[in-house]
């Protein structure tokens, strides 16, 4: 018998929901031919906590802690996205001091979120050491947050119209120290992981996401930028006071393989951390005096109407679609989570790869299941 006619039967393999490399409770149904992937069918919903249903039963300020629990690695950014959506609906203008503190928090959060993404990505591929380095540095950011609002993971810090607390008197000094401390660590991470031969072999040319596919699938954030589009809502659809800062938008260049491969997605995040540091550095010196509670409304009661408002989260475009019927509860609140949309492209980019590569691809999409399932 000729080898050509030898064909293995299609094999269905189940991966997850309890699998360390699915980054949470995600189940993937793999359709395999030998070791090659024919189809990936993600099954989600294991972490569905009915955010949208809960939101309808609560007042607007009560929703803030629930937004923490969506992308729990970037709670500050979620708070910010929600607060901005409601403020736009109500036409609230927040004090300058609040704007600056918000930007600093959101950018520190972006670094923290990317550190988790990069560290765990290393673990997925088989490099354990960078993970420890990343978490050591993330710990410092969490300490800054803890000192600001008392919480290390779920902050409930950015409120509609303001903040829950003003910053600690030592915050500015310690943040400056952190920026000084962290900048060389990015170089260290590059030496340790980014330009490691084995790491490049595992990630370059794997899971290539062409730009038109990315746009058609609604992919946003570092994943879209890795595919070569200079697209960042902080610049392209500015909110808060991002137009005052000088920073670049890193894009994937196919340095180690093809534009839009897993290595590009990884490296865009590394470069973004540096840009976030630049923003923090500029903002920290300019924080004006003011009262952070000044614009917090006693009663949040937006006028009748609806709004779709989006911000650039560490993982991509976080959109809130809110319909208000003029009462103190939202009539409808839909969240367009970046992880939810970014995960939907998985099948498209993993076809024809090996099972082991699927781990590399999934890791490079950087999803948080809390946001996928909400």
């Amino acid at each position: 018998m000729e080898t050509k006619t030898l064909k293995t039967e299609e094999l269905i393999l189940n991966m997850g929901p309890q699998h360390p490399s699915t980054h949470g409770v995600l189940r993937l149904e793999l359709e395999l031919e030998g070791e090659l992937i024919v189809n990936v069918k993600p099954h989600i919903g294991y972490l569905h906590r009915c955010f949208e249903k809960h939101a309808e039963a609560m007042t607007y300020p009560q929703v803030v802690p629930y937004t923490d629990r969506m992308d729990y690695l970037a709670s500050m950014s979620n708070n910010l996205g929600y607060a901005i959506a409601v403020e736009r609906l109500m036409g609230i203008k927040v004090p300058e001091r609040v704007e600056y503190i918000r930007v600093i928090m959101a950018e520190l959060q972006r670094i923290a979120s990317h550190l988790v993404a990069l560290g765990t990505y290393g673990v997925d591929i088989g490099a354990f050491t960078p993970f420890l380095y990343c978490f050591r540095d993330r710990e410092k950011i969490l300490s800054l947050f803890e000192m600001t609002c008392g919480a290390r993971l779920l902050y409930n810090y950015i409120w509609v119209g303001g903040l829950s607390h003003d910053i600690h008197p030592d915050f500015v000094r310690l943040t400056k120290e952190f920026v000084e401390y962290f900048r060389p660590k990015i170089v260290e991470l590059n030496e340790l992981l980014s330009f490691n031969k084995i790491f490049i072999e595992r990630t370059a040319n794997i899971g290539i996401l062409p730009l038109d596919t990315a746009i058609n699938y609604g992919v946003t954030g570092p994943m879209l930028r890795a595919s070569g589009l200079k697209w960042d809502l902080r610049k392209n659809d500015p909110y808060s006071i991002y137009d005052r800062f000088d920073f670049d938008i890193p894009v994937g260049e196919g340095e180690k393989g093809t534009v839009g491969d897993s290595w590009d997605r990884y490296f865009v995040r590394v470069q973004e951390m540096e840009q976030s540091l630049r923003i923090v550095e500029q903002a920290i010196d300019q924080i004006p005096e003011g009262n952070v509670h000044e614009a917090v409304p006693k009663r949040v009661k937006p006028p009748k109407g609806s709004i779709y408002s989006r911000v650039e989260n560490p993982k991509g475009e976080l959109g809130f679609f809110i319909i208000s019927d003029g009462s103190v509860n939202p009539f409808r609140m839909k969240v367009r989570g970046p992880s939810f949309v970014n995960l939907s492209v998985l099948n498209e980019i993993s076809k024809g790869h090996l099972v082991a590569d699927l781990i590399a691809i999934l890791g490079s999409t950087d999803i948080v299941l809390g946001e996928v399932d909400r």
Binding site: I44, G45, H48, C50, E52, K53, L89, G91, T213, I215, N216, Y217, G218, V219, L229, W231, N236, P303, K304, G305, S306, I307, Y308, R310, E317, G319, F321, I323, R332, K334, R336, F340, V341, S344, E348, D373, R374
Partner: protein, 176 residues
């Protein structure tokens, strides 16, 4: 860059009565209301037209309008006018930088909307979510299954305003 009003005029010329109206109440987003069975061809036009180029669907949301009306007719019998479900589409053109929002409304009894999955693939999961949460049926969707709720959830569609939690699911108590 085109304003939503101009896009509405353009669509009205092209599609005539398939475009139902234009909702614009400040301070809110404005919506072009489209016939639910024509949404696919309108979307295709919006995506492919040189002046429009809406290459990105930012968000697709189902909404229960909760507008069921109970009135009494001349003989005193109760007449129930069934409510509607709506789907909102938020579009954006990356190349040209303009935005537009579409809206379709369907009756609860016959919630059929044409799927736009083949225009923007991102609509795939969003439509599945709208089906799961509201029971809106997207015609010609390749894989319309529940996405967030368990596949054997029989108690209906949770985000509808008249939804009641079941007491048991597969023999397990639901309210805890």
């Amino acid at each position: 860059m085109m304003k939503p009003e101009e896009i509405f005029e353009l669509l009205k010329q092209k599609f005539d009565d398939k475009i139902i109206g234009f909702e614009n109440e400040l301070p809110v987003d404005s919506y072009i209301v489209v016939n639910p069975l024509a949404i696919k061809e309108v979307s295709k036009f919006l995506r492919d037209n040189e002046q429009l180029k809406f290459d990105s669907l930012m968000c697709l949301s189902g909404v229960d309008d909760a507008n069921e009306k109970k009135t009494k007719d001349e003989e005193g019998n109760e007449v129930i006018e069934k409510g509607t479900l709506s789907v909102y589409y938020h579009l954006h053109s990356i190349e040209l930088g303009h935005k537009v929002n579409l809206k379709v409304s369907v009756s609860v009894d016959n919630p059929n909307v044409e799927s736009v999955e083949s225009i923007w693939r991102t609509a795939d999961w969003h439509e599945r979510e709208a089906y799961d949460m509201f029971g809106i049926v997207f015609l010609n969707h390749p894989d319309l299954r529940r996405i967030l709720m368990p596949e054997d959830w029989e108690a209906g569609h949770p985000l509808r305003k008249d939804y009641k939690n079941p007491e048991f699911y597969n023999g397990m108590r639901v309210p805890y």
